[in-house]
């Protein structure tokens, strides 16, 4: 019977299934047969029994006959003997019975002829016997006993009796024989009957058993169908509703395992990639595989062949059944693919401890399609959902874009509204302007008229000026003539006074002699004065002719020594002349004038020095500039008087004149002569501590243009007083010390200097501090005059100028600065209470700020100054061995304010760098003597070589290591390519004009740090793990100056390698790690975890650097093994303190 038969529900014409019917018929037949046989055997048994009974009756009858005969005999005899009636009666009863008995016997044996014959015979004998007996009795009765006895003795009766007895015996024997025969027959019949009974029973039992088996099979088949139907229905109901694959899988696995009584189960659904992913399990061990590929393993094979696999001997470890107490392999496995339309959608795998029944396999094959359809529809639904979500997200993005557009539109509208408004405003302003314009036109006309007036006035003025100049000339000539005229009589007076003083005649009193000497001395003074006035007027009238010739310095100094040594010796002063080695032996100048100035200075020095020493020092002050320094230890000049000593007719102190004599014109002449020689004369002095006068003259005389023109044009007719006119930057060299301390004594070469001209000391101090903060060195001046002098003396890079100064307006200072070629380029920022912005800006100030100013405005002012001051001439060094390349770079970078030097070798480059400060270096890596990298290292190593920003400009691509090496020195590396000239130009321009506000501070800080290297860092090795060049650069720059050695790793893997290498090497292990988080190949978190796995590095301090700002990021870092954490962009000081904290002591 196949299960398929159960599905055939077509009504049959038979009342019972054919099989059942046949069985029943066979049973009926068998029962009938058995009954028949039983009946037959019973019958034969009963016949045999009857015959036996009959035979027994015969025997009994025979016995009865025998006994009756005997009884009759005995009764006869008894009667014969006794004649007692009792015997007679007995005889009568017996004789009455005997014939009947004989008849019965005859009847009984009627069926047996042999016996019948014997019976007939016997009846005859009996009758005979009875007749005899009866005769006897009768005789007896009659009393004839003797007859009777005789008769008796005749033996007739006895013979009959014997025959009867013989016959009885004979018949009994025959009957006995017959009886025996019949008993045998009966037994046979009984045996047969027994066999029939047994046989029938057995047949029936067999039939009943067959029927039972058949019915049982039918019943269980029905049960299986019901079971499967129920299962299918339950499963279908479980799969109903919209289910995700995971839920579906879980439900299916639970249900199937429960329904089939499996101990373990798993459900896999097909994936896009053709593999199967587990979507549900029942009692699955945790580590079971979640993905099965078609063809792989049993499940895969089942999927591939689309056939249920029933595995009886389960491979070891296959789908083990586990509980908390242990695990065991299932005995049997059922792996059933679920397919719909020929496509396998899922695999169900079940493990059993028992044998799997065919019906269970059948059930599995039936539910597979339901499952397959469910899986397919679930997958379809999931796909649909994904598509829907995608569509929704796209819609969302579109909508957001639209919103963004709308917002942008609104902003545009707002902007255009604002534009409209401003246009309207502009229009009204234009109208206003037009009005003003017409007004201005009127004014212009007015001005034209004024201009005409002015030009007329100017003509007049020019005439006047000419007249004045002539008058001036007349004055000088007059003075020259006059002095000559004065000297003539004075000469006589002097000679006469000398004669008088000699008192040759001896007629003068001592007092008179003294008077005469006084007259002589006064005359001498007057003469000196007249000479000086003459000199001065000559110089001022431009009448001094210089005779420029080679002047031997040594000769000049020697003659001075000869002249002044005795004078010094007289005053017991030490006198010394020193010529520095680098001073050229000869200079081109006017030896007479030079000597005159120096003589003046030396005589002053000796004059104003009471004790100590006077020194003349000759040295080189700069390229082509020679300094003659006269130093004394005399009374010195107080600061407030230093500016007046050079002015004609003014001396430091009125009393000086009286004490030391002299006209007071000497220094004025000396200074004017110094200017005439193309140089300058300056003083540094402190009251009571001596003075230092410095005469700077060019090694080769060059006429100063400003001296060619007459003294600065006085803005008004010269004031009657002899106070100085408007201060002249050119003419002013006296330097007053400011009231607050500044950096003039600590000026570093190449530093950026700012001059603050401000009379309010408090505000000046503020500006000074701010300037220092911005990385400037600061000079302070409190007056216009000092300001100009300081500007001329120290050549500041920028100037902050107050307008309200005690002596002159700041605007005048600004004018002067802008008219002097030496100070013209210096940017000036003006700060003032009053509004002079217009005037200041007109005069060339770069900015203007109103007092009170706040810090931000000041910062802005510094910013402007900084950006402006960088616009001077910039120097670029191009290190390139290929002359054509060098030339092309030169042409690329050429500009008015850029000076380009090309070096073909590293040595040449180093030489250039030693001599000159460059703003930027463009360097090729390929050089004949050193590689670019080595050149950079040397530049960094040599202290006397400046290290400007370097741009590496190379034709070859760099490896990561090379790049890292270069990055330590160069912020910018450019690979030559089509667009590289553009970038080179851009970067160079950037470096040349960059406001490096932070760099100098950093550099200073670094210098400072380098001076006092920290013990915490000294010789400690820090591993920096970061892939960002900017950070590596910054960290090395911070750590290396402090004495730390820095190892670089660009990712976690390199970090581990570096640690291991250092651990194995001899030159020091890593003391601390700075770990970036976001890196290629291996990120920081992984790297830290890896590091901590090695027991050697359990305590290695690691500081994590990360761009993430959140608390949980910090926790992540710590969890990965970081000791501490600092967020980017990090504060250098904070980082340093962190390192100090964690660095192992």
């Amino acid at each position: 019977m196949t299960p398929a038969d159960f599905d055939q529900h077509a009504p049959s014409r038979l009342p019972l299934p054919a099989g059942t019917l046949a069985g029943l018929l066979i049973a009926i037949l068998a029962v009938g047969t058995v009954a028949l046989f039983s009946y037959r055997s019973l019958q034969s048994r009963s016949e045999a029994a009857n015959l036996i009974t009959h035979t027994k009756d015969v025997i009994q009858q025979l016995e009865s006959i025998g006994s009756t005969n005997n009884a009759a005999e005995s009764a006869q005899r008894g009667y014969l003997l006794t004649s007692e009636p009792r015997y007679f009666e007995q005889y009568n009863r017996a004789s009455a019975l005997a014939p009947a008995q004989a008849d019965r016997l005859t009847a009984l044996v009627a069926d047996n002829p042999e016996q019948l014959a014997r019976a007939e015979t016997m009846r005859g004998f009996i009758t005979t016997r009875l007749q005899v007996a009866a005769e006897t009795i009768e005789l007896q009765r009659t009393g004839d006993s003797a007859a009777a006895m005789a008769l008796l003795r005749s033996g007739r009766g006895i013979a009959a009796m014997d025959a009867i007895r013989d016959l009885i015996v004979e018949m009994s024997t025959a009957a006995q024989r017959l009886l025996q025969q019949r008993e045998v027959t009966w037994q046979a019949a009984e045996r047969l009957s027994l066999w029939v009974t047994f046989g029938g029973s057995a047949t029936l039992i067999v039939l009943i058993a067959i029927a039972a088996v058949l019915m049982s099979r039918d019943y269980s088949a029905r049960q299986a169908v019901v079971w499967m139907r129920t299962g299918q229905m339950s499963l279908t109901s479980r799969l109903q509703g919209e289910q995700r694959l995971e839920h579906l899988g879980g439900h299916v696995a639970d249900f199937l395992a429960g329904y089939l009584g499996a101990q373990v189960g798993a459900v896999y659904a097909v994936e896009d990639a053709g593999s199967f992913r587990r979507i549900g399990g029942y009692a699955l061990p945790a580590a079971d595989t979640a993905i099965v590929r078609a063809g792989d393993g049993l499940a895969g094979q089942a999927a591939k062949s689309n056939h249920t696999l029933h595995v009886m001997t389960v491979p070891d470890g296959y789908l083990p059944i586990s509980s908390t107490l242990g695990a065991q392999n299932p005995r049997e496995l059922l792996i059933s693919p679920a397919s719909a339309d020929g496509v396998v959608q899922a695999i169900i795998e079940l493990g059993f401890f028992r044998h799997v029944l065919p019906v269970e396999r059948e059930f599995m094959s039936r539910v597979s399609e339901i499952l397959a359809v469910a899986v397919r529809s679930s997958r379809d639904r999931t796909k649909l959902e994904v598509l829907l979500a995608q569509t929704q997200q796209q819609a969302e993005e579109l909508q957001t874009q639209q919103e963004e557009l709308r917002v942008s539109n609104e902003e545009l509208a707002e902007q255009s509204r604002v534009l409209n408004e401003s246009q309207a405003r502009l229009e009204s302003q234009q109208a206003e302007l037009e009005q003003i314009n017409s007004h201005l036109e009127e004014q212009t006309q007015l001005l034209e008229a004024q201009k005409e007036d002015l030009s007329r006035a100017q003509t007049t003025l020019t005439d006047r000026a000419g007249e004045l100049q002539r008058a001036n000339q007349y004055k000088s000539e007059f003075l020259a003539n006059m002095s000559h005229e004065l000297r003539t009589p004075l000469n006589s007076a002097l000679i006469l006074a000398t004669l008088l003083a000699e008192n040759r005649d001896g007629n003068l009193t001592d007092e008179q002699v003294t008077f005469a000497r006084t007259i002589h001395e006064a005359g001498n003074d007057l003469l000196a004065l007249i000479n000086d006035v003459l000199d001065l007027s000559k110089i001022e009238a431009g009448k001094v002719e210089l005779s420029v010739e080679p002047v031997s310095i040594a000769t000049t100094v020697d003659s001075l020594v000869k002249t002044f040594e005795p004078l010094a010796a007289q005053k017991q002063l030490a006198f010394e002349a020193v010529i520095a080695e680098d001073v050229p032996p000869r200079i081109e100048s006017d030896s007479q004038r030079l000597g005159q100035v120096l003589k003046n200075l030396l005589s002053n020095a000796i004059k104003f020095t009471e004790q100590g020493r006077v020194t003349l020092r000759v040295s080189t002050a700069g390229p082509g500039l020679i300094d003659f320094v006269v130093e004394d230890t005399g009374i010195g000049i107080p600061p407030h008087q230093q500016d007046v000593i050079f002015e004609a007719f003014r001396q430091a102190d009125g009393s000086t004149h009286r004490k030391y004599g002299g006209t007071g014109l000497g220094l004025s002449i000396a200074r004017d002569l110094a200017h005439l020689l193309g140089g300058d004369l300056t003083v540094r002095s402190e009251s009571g501590r001596g003075s230092v006068f410095t005469l700077s003259v060019p090694a080769v005389f060059q006429a100063r243009p400003r001296l060619e023109r007459p003294a600065p044009l006085p803005p008004s007719p010269p004031p009657p007083r002899s106070t100085p006119a408007a201060p002249s930057a050119a003419a002013t060299a006296v330097l007053a010390r400011p009231a607050i301390e500044d950096d003039r004594d600590q000026l570093a070469p190449g530093s950026r200097r700012i001059l603050v001209v401000e009379d309010d000391t408090r505000f000046a101090a503020i500006l000074r501090d701010l300037a220092r903060e911005k990385g400037f060195q600061c000079l302070v001046a409190h007056t216009a005059h000092d300001g100009l002098a300081t500007a001329a003396a120290f050549a500041p890079n920028a100037i902050l100028l107050d307008v309200n100064l005690p002596d002159h307006s700041g605007l005048t200072v600004l004018d002067q600065l802008k008219h002097d070629p030496r100070t013209r380029h210096v940017p000036v920022h003006v700060i003032s209470v009053a509004d002079h912005a217009h005037h200041a800006l007109e005069r060339g100030a770069i900015g203007y700020a109103f007092k009170p100013v706040d810090r931000d405005q000041l910062s802005e002012a510094f910013q402007r100054l900084e950006s402006k001051m960088t616009q001077g001439v910039r120097r670029v060094l191009v290190v390139e061995d290929d002359p054509r390349q060098g030339d092309s770079i030169r042409q690329l970078l050429a500009a008015d304010d850029v000076a380009i030097t090309v070096a073909a070798t590293a040595a040449e480059a180093l030489a250039h760098l030693k001599q000159t400060t460059f703003d930027c270096v463009v360097m090729d890596l390929k050089l004949p003597d050193l590689s670019g990298g080595e050149l950079l290292e040397q530049m960094a190593a040599q202290e006397d070589v400046s290290f400007p920003p370097v741009i590496v400009y190379t034709g070859r691509s760099l490896t990561a290591d090379e790049e890292q090496q270069l990055r330590r020195f160069s912020k910018s590396i450019i690979i030559k390519d089509a667009r590289s000239p553009e970038r080179l130009l851009d970067e160079v321009t950037l470096f040349l004009h960059q406001v490096e506000a932070t760099m100098p501070i950093e550099r200073q800080r670094m210098l400072k740090a380098a001076r006092n290297r920290e013990a915490a860092f000294e010789n400690r090795r820090i591993l920096v793990v970061d892939d960002d060049a900017r950070n590596i650069f910054a960290l090395s720059r911070v750590l290396e100056p402090r004495g730390a050695k820095v190892d670089i790793a660009r990712n976690g893997r390199e970090a581990l390698n570096a640690l291991a290498r250092r651990q194995a090497g001899r030159d020091g292990r890593i003391d601390l790690v700075l770990m970036d988080i976001m890196m290629p190949e291996m990120d920081g978190l992984t790297a830290m975890t890896e590091i901590r796995k090695n027991p050697v590095w359990k305590t290695l301090p690691i500081i994590a650097l990360t761009a993430k700002a959140m608390r949980d990021d910090q926790e992540k870092c710590r969890a990965a093994g970081a000791n501490d954490y600092i967020a980017k962009p990090f504060d250098v000081e904070k980082l340093l303190s962190l390192i100090r904290v964690w660095m192992p002591k």
């Binding site: 994936e271 896009d272 990639a273 053709g274 593999s275 995608q390 929704q392 997200q393 796209q394 969302e396 993005e397 909508q399 957001t400 874009q401 919103e403 963004e404 557009l405 942008s408 902003e411 691509s957 760099l958 990561a960 790049e963 590396i973 450019i974 690979i975 030559k976 390519d977 089509a978 667009r979 590289s980 553009e982 970038r983 851009d986 970067e987 950037l990 960059q994 406001v995 892939d1027 960002d1028 060049a1029 900017r1030 950070n1031 970036d1076 988080i1077 976001m1078 890196m1079 290629p1080 990120d1083 990360t1106 761009a1107 993430k1108 700002a1109 959140m1110 608390r1111 949980d1112 967020a1127 980017k1128 962009p1129």
Partner: protein, 277 residues
């Protein structure tokens, strides 16, 4: 605004605050109009009647947050999306990038990674990939994981190929992926040059100096302040002369940082940083 809308907005702000404090994801600077829509669909998904209810669930059921995160972020991307953008990059940006010895590129808001791989392919075609490193960042770790896997539906490849061709791609896109079982797997060799990391433009800082930032269709979800913050980060991250690429509907025009950039390809929203670094 009616009362319910006002209430919704209050709840919205409370929810964003709660998320920030609980999970450190800062959506407070996101454009509210879009958030409103996305949260309404999230409410449906979580079967929550009100945002307060949703807030309570998100606070007390940490496993609910990743699901909500998927609603709050909008991962829409394709390879070589807006081919004109990539064409302009090839023509105007790549020649400048060649002059750098090593390149770093930041794809901010990389979503499921299509754009990251587009960049990798573009650089490969231009011979620059070997010296490049692409940082791909996003706030959603689930999406980032997908991006890292680099597996896409093979059905999408046709349109990607068309985009790639129109972007001026010289090679065949199929050289860079392997298709099997209805999926396209991006060549793992490309991934060697990509670092995937989660990074929030709202809370985190700059992590490296880069030559190119591409952040497309991310700023549209931000309000003006957050847009400014993000652009500030890009400005800080970019080296001098570095490039910034934005989405087709995004612009620097209204940003406070607009002065620091000049147009390179106006239509394709490519800008160059022109201030001193």
């Amino acid at each position: 605004m009616d009362t319910t809308a006002a209430e919704f907005d209050i709840e919205l702000r409370l929810l964003l605050d709660a998320i920030y404090q609980r999970y450190h994801y800062d959506f407070r600077g996101y454009a509210h109009a879009s958030l409103r829509r996305r949260l309404r669909s999230a409410m449906q998904h979580f079967s929550c009647g009100t945002l307060s209810h949703l807030q309570s669930r998100v606070l007390h059921e940490p496993e609910a947050f990743p699901a909500l995160l998927n609603f709050l972020t909008v991962p829409v991307s394709e390879m070589f999306r807006d081919p004109g953008y990539f064409k302009s990059l090839r023509e105007q940006v790549v020649p400048m990038l060649r002059t750098y010895p090593s390149l770093k590129i930041w794809v901010a808001g990389c979503s499921t990674g299509e754009e990251v791989y587009s960049f990798a392919i573009l650089l490969k075609e231009e011979g620059l990939l070997e010296r490049s490193l692409i940082y791909a960042t996003d706030i959603n770790p689930v999406i980032l994981h997908q991006a890292e896997a680099g597996v896409y539906d093979v059905d999408r490849m046709a349109s990607f190929t068309e985009n790639h061709r129109r972007s001026g791609g010289a090679s065949s896109l199929s050289d860079y992926y392997a298709a099997a079982y209805g999926r396209a797997l991006i060549d793992p060799a490309l991934k060697k040059h990509v670092v995937f990391s989660d990074h929030s433009l709202a809370t985190d800082n700059v992590f490296a100096e880069v030559q190119l930032v591409s952040c497309r269709n991310v700023l549209i979800y931000f309000d003006r302040d957050l847009q400014d913050r993000a652009i500030g980060l890009f400005r800080e991250a970019l080296c001098r002369g570095g490039f910034l690429g934005l989405g087709s509907r995004e612009s620097l025009r209204f940003s406070g940082h607009s002065g620091a950039f000049v147009d390179v390809a106006r239509e394709d929203r490519i800008y160059q940083k022109r201030e001193a670094a």
